[in-house]
């Protein structure tokens, strides 16, 4: 049964008054000296009053202290203590207060819990944000690094393109020189062909002359051979004549001997035989002279024949040499023809190469432009990434601030104890 405090006080007061009355009424019957009767009744009234007062105040004070201590704890941030009042037989306004404070505490707990949760989440988000921004920043730095590399690459590319251009100009010059040289070679080869042809013609003409002379020399040699043959026939005739002369000589000798044997009659015949012998002797002498002459002529003829043979051999060698020369000239002509056609091919090819080189030069120029554009683009990218980096730094700073703020919020909220600590 709910009894308000004021009623409780009234009841207490009434109990004290009633007890004083009752004691006053009961005192005469208690054989207490009269002088002490007043004192006793007062004392009893005081005792009753003190007891009731003590009981009441103790009950009140206990609840109030509990409330106060809980209030203090709340003010300290401890929201874990729930107010448990002693369940009296007669609850009063303190119970209401305790209920209200418990409500407040619950509301605060929920609030602080929410705040803490949110602060946690914020801190987490801030950290995420911070790490994300750091990652972004790192990425941005990497991008910047990469862009730098690209930039450097673009510079190298530009240098390479420049170098390529220079080299290619050299190459184009070389190709031009090659083309000029090839034309000269073709011209020289043409001249060589002409020269070799005229040389070949000359060699052919001299070959013809040599052939004619050779044929003449051969026929002369043959004539000389025939002549020597005739000489040999003469020698044979002379031998015959010689033999006849010797026979005549012998006949003359024997005729002389026979005539001598005939004595006086043979004397005339001896003279004839002597004349015949003389004729035979002079015939022999003449024949010997002819033989000597023929021998001389034959020796000379042999010499002429052998020198003719040498001349023929040398002319044969000369003919072969001229033949080889002619052959060499024709080979030179062929080779020069080949050289000329090759040189012409080279000239044509180099002309194609020149046009290709021009195309390549144009391509290199385009590459140069593209490289320049790339460089500009990478410059822009670099600037953008720098801006991005700056923004990211700002973002990171904000995230840091947010983190700090959520941290301090947590710190603030941490004062509130939500759960009873064991």
């Amino acid at each position: 049964m709910r009894v308000e405090i004021s009623y409780k006080f009234i009841v207490g007061f009434l109990v004290v008054v009633v007890s004083g009355v009752i004691v006053n009424l009961a005192v005469p019957y208690l054989q207490i000296p009269p002088e002490f009767q007043q004192f006793f009744s007062v004392a009893c009234a005081l005792v009753v009053g003190l007891i009731i007062g003590a009981v009441f105040s103790r009950a009140f004070a206990a609840n109030i202290r509990r409330l106060t201590s809980v209030g203090d704890q709340i003010s300290q941030g401890n929201l874990s203590e729930t107010i448990q009042l002693k369940e009296g037989r007669f609850p009063d306004e303190t119970s209401d207060l305790a209920k209200s404070m418990n409500h407040i505490q619950e509301s605060l707990r929920a609030l602080v819990g929410d705040i803490r949760g949110i602060a946690f989440k914020v801190a987490g988000s801030a950290q995420n944000l911070s790490s994300t921004s750091q990652e972004v920043s790192a990425s941005a730095q990497e991008v910047a690094h990469t862009v730098n590399q690209i930039n450097r690459g673009a510079e190298t590319q530009a240098e390479m393109v420049e170098k390529s251009k220079r080299i290619f100009n050299d190459v184009a010059r070389s190709i031009n020189q090659v083309a000029t040289a090839a034309s000269k070679v073709a011209e020289s080869a043409h001249q060589t062909v002409d020269t070799a042809r005229s040389g070949s013609e000359l060699a052919g003409a001299s070959l013809d002359s040599i052939r004619q002379v050779l044929a003449e020399a051969q026929s002369s040699s043959q004539q000389m051979f025939n002549f020597i043959g005739q000489l040999q026939r003469i020698s044979k005739f002379v031998e015959v004549i010689n033999g006849v002369a010797q026979k005549t000589n012998l006949l003359a000798l024997n005729a002389t001997i026979e005539a001598a044997r005939a004595g006086e009659y043979g004397r005339g015949f001896t003279v004839v035989a002597e004349e015949i012998r003389k004729l035979a002797d002079s015939t022999t002498i003449s024949a010997n002279e002819i033989t000597a002459l023929v021998e001389g002529i034959r020796t000379e003829g042999h010499l002429v024949q052998s020198s003719m043979g040498q001349v023929i051999e040398e002319m044969e060698i000369g003919r072969e040499a001229v033949d080889r020369t002619n052959h060499a000239f024709s080979q030179i002509t062929q080779n020069a023809e080949v050289t000329r056609s090759k040189a012409t091919n080279i000239a044509e090819l180099t002309a194609q190469q020149i046009s290709s080189a021009e195309q390549i030069t144009r391509a290199i120029d385009e590459i140069d432009k593209v490289v320049s554009d790339n460089a500009a683009a990478t410059e822009q990218v670099s600037a953008t990434t720098q801006k991005q980096s700056a923004s990211m730094e700002g973002l990171a700073l904000s995230a840091q601030n947010l983190s700090t703020m959520s941290e301090s919020m947590l710190q603030i909220v941490k004062r509130f104890k939500l759960v009873k600590e064991e």
């Binding site: 010797q246 000798l253 002389t256 012998r277 002797d281």
Partner: protein, 139 residues
């Protein structure tokens, strides 16, 4: 005047009276006589007669192997011997009255004497002595 055949033996000119000569033959087929010695060269067939061939140079001890292809056939009075000489020259007329004795002919009997003709010195052979020499050498 005597007709004399002149020929050489070695380096010298010799003469032989043609009264001792039967004929001069040229290159007749020569038959070699087995185991012939000294100056005997061989034998020839002369008009169906077999005649001994004597190398006069070898017989008289002249050096040199020169031998004329014409050989001298002596008359039957001189055993029909055939003589080979160095080289037969010709037949000349010699005046035998002007014959001089050879300075070295004291021991050499085969040379009858020396005659001069056209600045030639001719040693005239003694045919009988030659035959004698052959006989002495018992060929």
């Amino acid at each position: 005047m005597t007709l004399t055949l002149l020929f050489t033996l070695g380096e010298d000119i010799y003469g032989l009276e043609i009264s001792a000569i039967q004929e001069i033959v040229e290159d007749p087929p020569l038959y070699y006589v087995p185991r012939a010695e000294g100056a005997l060269v061989g034998a020839i067939n002369f008009h169906s007669q077999v005649l001994a061939v004597i190398d006069l140079s070898a017989l008289l001890g002249f050096p040199g192997e020169k031998r004329d292809h014409r050989w001298v056939v002596l008359t039957p009075q001189f055993k029909s011997l055939v003589l080979t000489v160095g080289s037969i020259h010709r037949i000349v007329n010699l005046d035998l009255s002007e014959l001089q004795s050879s300075p070295s002919s004291a021991g050499v009997k085969v040379v009858r004497g020396v005659a001069n003709l056209d600045e030639m010195t001719i040693n005239l052979l003694d045919t009988n002595e030659v035959i004698e020499l052959l006989n002495n050498q018992s060929i």
